[in-house]
Amino acid sequence: MTRSALHLTRASALRLTLIALIAGCALAPAALATTQPPRASLTDIENDVMCTSCREPLAVAQSPQADSERAYIRGLLAQGLTKRQIEQNLVAQYGEAVLGKPPASGFNLTVYVLPPVILAAGIGILLFTLPRWRRRARTAPDRGSAPPTGFDPAEAARLDQELSQFRG
Protein backbone atom coordinates (compact mmCIF):
# COMPACT_ATOMS: atom_id res chain seq x y z
CA MET A 1 0.00 0.00 0.00
CA THR A 2 1.43 3.42 -0.98
CA ARG A 3 1.85 6.31 1.48
CA SER A 4 -0.97 8.38 -0.09
CA ALA A 5 -3.34 5.41 -0.09
CA LEU A 6 -2.61 4.83 3.62
CA HIS A 7 -3.26 8.51 4.34
CA LEU A 8 -6.57 8.31 2.49
CA THR A 9 -7.64 5.24 4.47
CA ARG A 10 -6.80 6.94 7.78
CA ALA A 11 -8.75 10.03 6.73
CA SER A 12 -11.72 7.88 5.77
CA ALA A 13 -11.57 6.02 9.05
CA LEU A 14 -11.47 9.31 10.98
CA ARG A 15 -14.42 10.63 8.99
CA LEU A 16 -16.39 7.45 9.60
CA THR A 17 -15.67 7.62 13.34
CA LEU A 18 -16.82 11.24 13.45
CA ILE A 19 -20.01 10.42 11.56
CA ALA A 20 -20.69 7.51 13.92
CA LEU A 21 -20.16 9.75 16.97
CA ILE A 22 -22.48 12.48 15.64
CA ALA A 23 -25.10 9.91 14.68
CA GLY A 24 -24.80 8.31 18.13
CA CYS A 25 -25.34 11.68 19.85
CA ALA A 26 -28.31 12.45 17.62
CA LEU A 27 -29.97 9.07 18.09
CA ALA A 28 -29.34 8.71 21.84
CA PRO A 29 -32.39 10.76 22.93
CA ALA A 30 -34.57 8.91 20.44
CA ALA A 31 -33.35 5.57 21.76
CA LEU A 32 -34.01 6.73 25.31
CA ALA A 33 -37.46 7.86 24.28
CA THR A 34 -38.34 4.43 22.97
CA THR A 35 -37.26 2.65 26.14
CA GLN A 36 -38.67 5.20 28.59
CA PRO A 37 -42.17 6.64 28.05
CA PRO A 38 -42.19 10.46 28.06
CA ARG A 39 -43.21 12.07 31.30
CA ALA A 40 -46.71 13.47 30.93
CA SER A 41 -47.57 17.06 31.68
CA LEU A 42 -50.92 18.71 32.34
CA THR A 43 -50.51 21.00 29.32
CA ASP A 44 -49.82 18.05 27.05
CA ILE A 45 -52.86 16.13 28.26
CA GLU A 46 -55.16 19.16 28.31
CA ASN A 47 -54.66 19.54 24.56
CA ASP A 48 -55.76 15.98 23.84
CA VAL A 49 -58.78 15.60 26.12
CA MET A 50 -62.16 17.28 26.29
CA CYS A 51 -64.15 18.95 29.00
CA THR A 52 -67.07 16.54 28.70
CA SER A 53 -69.81 18.89 29.88
CA CYS A 54 -68.70 21.93 27.84
CA ARG A 55 -67.70 19.85 24.78
CA GLU A 56 -64.52 21.80 24.12
CA PRO A 57 -60.84 20.98 24.62
CA LEU A 58 -59.87 21.01 28.28
CA ALA A 59 -57.02 23.41 27.45
CA VAL A 60 -59.51 26.20 26.72
CA ALA A 61 -62.45 25.14 28.88
CA GLN A 62 -63.37 27.28 31.87
CA SER A 63 -66.06 25.59 33.92
CA PRO A 64 -66.44 23.83 37.28
CA GLN A 65 -66.34 20.47 35.50
CA ALA A 66 -63.15 21.43 33.66
CA ASP A 67 -61.54 22.45 36.97
CA SER A 68 -62.60 19.15 38.52
CA GLU A 69 -61.16 17.23 35.55
CA ARG A 70 -57.87 19.16 35.79
CA ALA A 71 -57.64 18.41 39.51
CA TYR A 72 -58.20 14.73 38.77
CA ILE A 73 -55.47 14.74 36.10
CA ARG A 74 -53.07 16.49 38.50
CA GLY A 75 -53.70 13.67 40.98
CA LEU A 76 -52.89 11.08 38.32
CA LEU A 77 -49.74 12.99 37.32
CA ALA A 78 -48.64 13.03 40.95
CA GLN A 79 -48.91 9.21 40.92
CA GLY A 80 -46.35 9.23 38.06
CA LEU A 81 -48.66 7.75 35.42
CA THR A 82 -47.79 8.08 31.72
CA LYS A 83 -49.94 10.03 29.29
CA ARG A 84 -51.42 6.83 27.89
CA GLN A 85 -52.27 5.51 31.34
CA ILE A 86 -53.86 8.83 32.27
CA GLU A 87 -55.96 8.82 29.11
CA GLN A 88 -57.10 5.24 29.82
CA ASN A 89 -57.99 6.29 33.36
CA LEU A 90 -59.94 9.28 32.09
CA VAL A 91 -61.91 7.06 29.68
CA ALA A 92 -62.75 4.75 32.61
CA GLN A 93 -64.05 7.74 34.58
CA TYR A 94 -65.68 9.95 31.96
CA GLY A 95 -66.23 7.62 29.00
CA GLU A 96 -64.79 7.85 25.49
CA ALA A 97 -66.23 11.33 25.02
CA VAL A 98 -63.30 12.62 27.07
CA LEU A 99 -60.88 11.87 24.23
CA GLY A 100 -60.18 14.69 21.79
CA LYS A 101 -59.87 12.21 18.94
CA PRO A 102 -62.74 9.73 18.89
CA PRO A 103 -61.88 6.02 18.72
CA ALA A 104 -61.84 4.62 15.18
CA SER A 105 -64.95 2.47 15.45
CA GLY A 106 -68.64 2.65 14.52
CA PHE A 107 -69.93 5.98 13.28
CA ASN A 108 -66.67 7.66 14.41
CA LEU A 109 -64.89 5.83 11.58
CA THR A 110 -66.26 8.45 9.20
CA VAL A 111 -63.95 11.02 10.83
CA TYR A 112 -60.95 9.02 9.67
CA VAL A 113 -62.28 7.53 6.44
CA LEU A 114 -64.16 10.44 4.86
CA PRO A 115 -61.36 13.04 4.48
CA PRO A 116 -58.99 10.76 2.52
CA VAL A 117 -61.91 9.44 0.45
CA ILE A 118 -63.02 12.98 -0.43
CA LEU A 119 -59.42 13.98 -1.22
CA ALA A 120 -58.94 10.91 -3.43
CA ALA A 121 -62.25 11.59 -5.19
CA GLY A 122 -61.26 15.22 -5.77
CA ILE A 123 -57.89 14.21 -7.21
CA GLY A 124 -59.61 11.58 -9.35
CA ILE A 125 -62.08 14.13 -10.75
CA LEU A 126 -59.23 16.56 -11.50
CA LEU A 127 -57.16 13.84 -13.18
CA PHE A 128 -60.17 12.95 -15.31
CA THR A 129 -61.35 16.45 -16.20
CA LEU A 130 -58.13 18.48 -16.54
CA PRO A 131 -56.77 16.60 -19.63
CA ARG A 132 -60.21 16.94 -21.28
CA TRP A 133 -60.33 20.68 -20.59
CA ARG A 134 -56.82 21.11 -21.98
CA ARG A 135 -57.64 19.04 -25.08
CA ARG A 136 -60.78 21.09 -25.64
CA ALA A 137 -58.87 24.36 -25.22
CA ARG A 138 -56.25 23.22 -27.76
CA THR A 139 -58.76 22.13 -30.40
CA ALA A 140 -61.03 25.18 -30.00
CA PRO A 141 -60.60 27.87 -32.73
CA ASP A 142 -58.67 31.01 -31.76
CA ARG A 143 -61.57 33.36 -31.21
CA GLY A 144 -59.34 36.40 -30.97
CA SER A 145 -58.09 36.27 -34.57
CA ALA A 146 -61.18 34.90 -36.27
CA PRO A 147 -63.20 37.38 -38.28
CA PRO A 148 -66.66 37.99 -36.93
CA THR A 149 -69.08 35.64 -38.59
CA GLY A 150 -71.97 37.01 -40.61
CA PHE A 151 -70.29 40.40 -41.03
CA ASP A 152 -70.86 41.73 -44.53
CA PRO A 153 -67.81 43.47 -46.17
CA ALA A 154 -70.12 46.28 -47.32
CA GLU A 155 -71.31 46.81 -43.80
CA ALA A 156 -67.73 46.73 -42.57
CA ALA A 157 -66.82 49.45 -45.05
CA ARG A 158 -69.77 51.54 -43.92
CA LEU A 159 -68.80 51.10 -40.30
CA ASP A 160 -65.23 52.19 -41.04
CA GLN A 161 -66.57 55.25 -42.84
CA GLU A 162 -68.83 56.25 -39.95
CA LEU A 163 -66.08 55.70 -37.42
CA SER A 164 -63.72 57.90 -39.45
CA GLN A 165 -66.26 60.71 -39.20
CA PHE A 166 -66.12 60.52 -35.43
CA ARG A 167 -62.34 60.47 -35.41
CA GLY A 168 -62.50 63.73 -37.36
Partner: protein, 184 residues
Protein backbone atom coordinates in the same frame (compact mmCIF):
# COMPACT_ATOMS: atom_id res chain seq x y z
CA UNK B 1 -74.93 11.99 -21.34
CA UNK B 2 -71.27 12.12 -20.29
CA UNK B 3 -71.59 15.90 -19.85
CA UNK B 4 -73.83 15.29 -16.86
CA UNK B 5 -71.74 12.54 -15.28
CA UNK B 6 -69.47 14.80 -13.18
CA UNK B 7 -72.16 17.22 -11.96
CA UNK B 8 -74.34 14.22 -11.09
CA UNK B 9 -71.46 12.65 -9.19
CA UNK B 10 -70.82 15.92 -7.31
CA UNK B 11 -74.51 16.22 -6.41
CA UNK B 12 -74.57 12.59 -5.25
CA UNK B 13 -71.50 13.13 -3.04
CA UNK B 14 -73.00 16.34 -1.58
CA UNK B 15 -76.31 14.57 -0.90
CA UNK B 16 -74.44 11.69 0.75
CA UNK B 17 -72.55 14.09 3.01
CA UNK B 18 -75.77 15.87 3.95
CA UNK B 19 -77.43 12.55 4.76
CA UNK B 20 -74.44 11.62 6.94
CA UNK B 21 -74.67 14.96 8.75
CA UNK B 22 -78.40 14.44 9.28
CA UNK B 23 -77.80 10.96 10.67
CA UNK B 24 -75.14 12.26 13.08
CA UNK B 25 -77.37 15.08 14.32
CA UNK B 26 -80.33 12.73 14.71
CA UNK B 27 -78.18 10.37 16.78
CA UNK B 28 -77.59 13.13 19.33
CA UNK B 29 -81.22 12.78 20.37
CA UNK B 30 -83.45 15.31 21.96
CA UNK B 31 -84.92 15.92 25.38
CA UNK B 32 -88.11 17.43 24.03
CA UNK B 33 -90.02 14.16 23.52
CA UNK B 34 -89.93 13.09 27.21
CA UNK B 35 -90.75 16.60 28.44
CA UNK B 36 -93.66 16.95 26.02
CA UNK B 37 -95.10 13.54 26.91
CA UNK B 38 -94.92 14.23 30.65
CA UNK B 39 -96.50 17.67 30.16
CA UNK B 40 -99.39 16.04 28.25
CA UNK B 41 -99.85 13.50 31.03
CA UNK B 42 -98.91 10.72 28.65
CA UNK B 43 -96.22 9.31 30.92
CA UNK B 44 -93.42 7.63 28.95
CA UNK B 45 -91.63 4.54 30.27
CA UNK B 46 -88.22 5.34 31.73
CA UNK B 47 -85.63 4.49 29.06
CA UNK B 48 -82.83 1.93 29.47
CA UNK B 49 -84.47 0.31 32.49
CA UNK B 50 -82.43 -2.86 32.04
CA UNK B 51 -79.10 -0.99 31.88
CA UNK B 52 -76.87 -2.12 34.73
CA UNK B 53 -74.82 0.71 36.20
CA UNK B 54 -71.94 0.22 38.65
CA UNK B 55 -72.65 1.13 42.27
CA UNK B 56 -70.52 4.06 43.43
CA UNK B 57 -67.95 3.01 46.01
CA UNK B 58 -69.00 -0.59 45.95
CA UNK B 59 -68.96 -3.73 43.89
CA UNK B 60 -71.80 -4.88 41.70
CA UNK B 61 -74.29 -2.97 39.66
CA UNK B 62 -77.95 -2.05 39.68
CA UNK B 63 -80.60 -1.12 37.15
CA UNK B 64 -83.95 0.65 37.23
CA UNK B 65 -85.56 -2.71 36.55
CA UNK B 66 -84.20 -3.93 39.89
CA UNK B 67 -86.24 -1.20 41.59
CA UNK B 68 -89.51 -1.95 39.77
CA UNK B 69 -92.45 -1.64 42.16
CA UNK B 70 -90.82 1.27 43.98
CA UNK B 71 -91.31 4.96 43.38
CA UNK B 72 -87.88 6.17 42.28
CA UNK B 73 -86.63 9.74 42.31
CA UNK B 74 -83.74 9.61 39.87
CA UNK B 75 -81.33 12.47 40.54
CA UNK B 76 -78.51 13.09 38.05
CA UNK B 77 -75.64 14.97 39.68
CA UNK B 78 -71.91 15.67 39.73
CA UNK B 79 -69.62 16.64 42.57
CA UNK B 80 -68.39 19.79 40.79
CA UNK B 81 -71.90 21.16 40.30
CA UNK B 82 -72.95 23.92 42.71
CA UNK B 83 -76.74 23.41 42.39
CA UNK B 84 -76.21 19.66 43.04
CA UNK B 85 -74.49 20.56 46.29
CA UNK B 86 -77.42 22.79 47.21
CA UNK B 87 -80.06 20.14 46.58
CA UNK B 88 -78.20 17.21 48.21
CA UNK B 89 -79.55 17.93 51.74
CA UNK B 90 -83.10 18.24 50.34
CA UNK B 91 -82.80 14.86 48.64
CA UNK B 92 -81.31 13.22 51.73
CA UNK B 93 -84.11 14.60 53.93
CA UNK B 94 -86.70 13.29 51.46
CA UNK B 95 -85.03 9.89 51.37
CA UNK B 96 -85.47 9.52 55.11
CA UNK B 97 -89.18 10.37 54.72
CA UNK B 98 -90.03 8.10 51.80
CA UNK B 99 -87.95 5.01 52.43
CA UNK B 100 -90.77 3.53 54.60
CA UNK B 101 -93.25 3.97 51.71
CA UNK B 102 -91.35 1.68 49.35
CA UNK B 103 -89.77 4.61 47.54
CA UNK B 104 -86.20 5.75 47.12
CA UNK B 105 -83.99 8.48 45.81
CA UNK B 106 -81.49 7.09 43.31
CA UNK B 107 -78.44 9.20 42.56
CA UNK B 108 -76.63 8.81 39.25
CA UNK B 109 -73.29 10.55 38.74
CA UNK B 110 -72.66 12.06 35.33
CA UNK B 111 -69.45 13.54 33.90
CA UNK B 112 -67.69 13.00 37.19
CA UNK B 113 -64.79 10.91 38.44
CA UNK B 114 -65.53 8.29 41.08
CA UNK B 115 -63.16 9.60 43.76
CA UNK B 116 -64.74 13.09 43.63
CA UNK B 117 -68.25 11.57 43.66
CA UNK B 118 -67.40 9.40 46.66
CA UNK B 119 -66.04 12.42 48.53
CA UNK B 120 -69.26 14.31 47.70
CA UNK B 121 -71.42 11.44 49.03
CA UNK B 122 -69.38 11.25 52.25
CA UNK B 123 -69.44 15.00 52.85
CA UNK B 124 -73.19 15.28 52.20
CA UNK B 125 -73.96 12.17 54.33
CA UNK B 126 -75.95 10.67 51.47
CA UNK B 127 -77.61 7.40 52.46
CA UNK B 128 -79.50 6.62 49.24
CA UNK B 129 -77.95 4.41 46.53
CA UNK B 130 -75.74 6.13 43.98
CA UNK B 131 -74.80 4.66 40.60
CA UNK B 132 -72.16 5.77 38.08
CA UNK B 133 -72.97 6.38 34.42
CA UNK B 134 -69.48 6.36 32.94
CA UNK B 135 -70.39 6.41 29.26
CA UNK B 136 -73.29 8.82 29.83
CA UNK B 137 -75.54 6.70 27.58
CA UNK B 138 -78.09 5.96 30.34
CA UNK B 139 -78.41 9.59 31.40
CA UNK B 140 -78.49 10.90 27.84
CA UNK B 141 -81.39 8.56 27.04
CA UNK B 142 -83.39 10.76 29.45
CA UNK B 143 -82.46 13.76 27.30
CA UNK B 144 -80.08 15.03 29.95
CA UNK B 145 -77.54 17.58 28.80
CA UNK B 146 -76.45 18.98 32.15
CA UNK B 147 -76.69 18.58 35.91
CA UNK B 148 -78.66 18.52 38.09
CA UNK B 149 -81.77 16.90 36.63
CA UNK B 150 -84.40 14.90 38.49
CA UNK B 151 -86.97 12.40 37.23
CA UNK B 152 -89.78 10.95 39.31
CA UNK B 153 -90.59 7.40 38.16
CA UNK B 154 -93.76 5.67 39.37
CA UNK B 155 -94.18 2.06 40.42
CA UNK B 156 -94.90 1.04 36.82
CA UNK B 157 -91.55 2.43 35.67
CA UNK B 158 -93.01 5.53 33.98
CA UNK B 159 -91.67 9.07 34.22
CA UNK B 160 -94.42 11.16 35.82
CA UNK B 161 -92.52 14.37 36.61
CA UNK B 162 -89.15 15.94 35.94
CA UNK B 163 -87.02 18.95 36.75
CA UNK B 164 -84.22 19.95 34.40
CA UNK B 165 -82.76 22.38 36.92
CA UNK B 166 -82.11 22.61 40.65
CA UNK B 167 -85.19 21.29 42.42
CA UNK B 168 -87.07 22.94 45.26
CA UNK B 169 -87.95 21.02 48.41
CA UNK B 170 -91.66 21.78 48.08
CA UNK B 171 -91.80 20.51 44.51
CA UNK B 172 -90.08 17.28 45.51
CA UNK B 173 -92.33 16.67 48.53
CA UNK B 174 -95.56 17.41 46.69
CA UNK B 175 -94.63 15.40 43.60
CA UNK B 176 -93.49 12.35 45.51
CA UNK B 177 -96.62 12.47 47.72
CA UNK B 178 -98.80 12.63 44.62
CA UNK B 179 -97.07 9.64 43.05
CA UNK B 180 -97.13 7.64 46.28
CA UNK B 181 -100.86 8.09 46.62
CA UNK B 182 -101.74 7.36 43.00
CA UNK B 183 -103.50 4.07 42.40
CA UNK B 184 -101.15 1.30 41.37
Amino acid sequence: MRRFAIPALAVAVAAGLLALLGFGVAKLGSSSSIDASVARGNYPPAPHQQAKLPILGGSGSESLADLRGKVVVLNVFASWCGPCLAEAPILEKEQRQIVKDNATILGVTYLDNSSASEAFVRQQHISYPVLRDVSGNFVRSFGTTGVPETFVINRQGRIVALQREQLAGTWLQQTVQRVLTERS
